[in-house]
């Protein structure tokens, strides 16, 4: 039951990732096509800070971070757990994946929050 729930979450976050990662690509990598500004301009420090001060960006990026980390690390855990290993080693893999995920999520959230709270005018 627990594995079914974890697998269901793995599938449920897919639409979130597709939409938000699509937006991320459009803004950061395909700005000339979708927004009519150069990539350099879109990645400029001031532009990046200005964008990062939006509440919607703060929320959506944290959501993307959580969804992509969960999807990616759950997938990676599945690949590793398919390899021959003892149950004890499997448990260590699970705990390591959870710890890495939580650390990266906390760090990514901190960076996003840092951008959001960056003082106007530097």
């Amino acid at each position: 039951m627990r594995e079914t729930r974890l697998w269901s979450w793995h599938l449920l976050v897919i639409p979130i990732i597709i939409v938000l990662l699509g937006l991320h690509f459009a803004i950061m990598h395909y700005a000339p096509v979708f927004y009519g500004v150069s990539v350099e301009e879109a990645r400029n420090f001031e532009t990046m800070i200005e964008r990062g001060k939006s509440v919607s960006q703060l929320v959506l990026y944290i959501l993307l971070l959580a969804a992509a980390l969960y999807h990616g690390l759950y997938g990676l855990r599945g690949i590793i757990r398919e390899l021959p290993m003892t149950p004890a080693l499997g448990k260590i893999v699970d705990i390591t994946v959870i710890c890495v995920g939580l650390f990266i999520f906390a760090f990514g959230t901190y960076v996003t929050w840092w951008t959001f709270s960056y003082p106007v005018g530097g």
């Binding site: 897919i14 990732i17 990662l21 096509v33 420090f45 990616g72 760090f107 990514g108």
Partner: protein, 146 residues
């Protein structure tokens, strides 16, 4: 090898089991590509978060890093990342539809000439891969010739 170990782990090929697709079908190779792109994307994502944190070191550090990413080599890496993400996403949508039972046809008795669910699913596979190829080509042209 002790008997307990061989009983516990028999029929598990380890990494060879998923790397070598042998005589299996197109979908089996897509499975392999899905795994490889997935691992590449998660590895990149972890690096990307660390790289994004560079903004906290200030304007000069950030602009220096962005200058580096404007080099042709990094443009190629960026494009490979885009291609991997598009393939992984669209193949993932195909897998999701398969998981939910769509486009597999009705179950049939195994009477000759056989019609497997994989064969009935094949047109969708081709359509999705054609769509992925189109997006990847368009993405490349927009990235390199804006």
């Amino acid at each position: 090898m002790n008997s307990k170990k061989s009983t516990a782990y028999n029929n598990r090929l380890g990494i060879k089991g998923w790397v070598y697709a042998g005589k299996y079908t197109f979908e089996r190779y897509l499975y392999l590509a899905h795994r490889l792109t997935g691992m590449g994307l998660i590895a990149y994502m972890l690096l990307h978060i660390l790289e994004t944190a560079n903004r906290m070191r200030g304007v000069v550090a950030w602009e220096g890093l962005m200058g580096l990413f404007a080099l042709p080599l990094f443009k190629m890496i960026e494009y490979a990342l885009f291609a991997a993400a598009v393939f992984h996403a669209l193949n993932g949508v195909r897998l999701l539809m398969t998981e939910l039972g769509f486009f597999l046809g009705r179950p049939k008795e195994p009477v000759y000439p056989y019609s497997s669910s994989i064969k009935r699913h094949r047109p969708l596979t081709y359509i999705i891969m054609a769509l992925a190829s189109l997006i990847i080509i368009l993405g490349g042209s927009s990235l390199f010739f804006p």
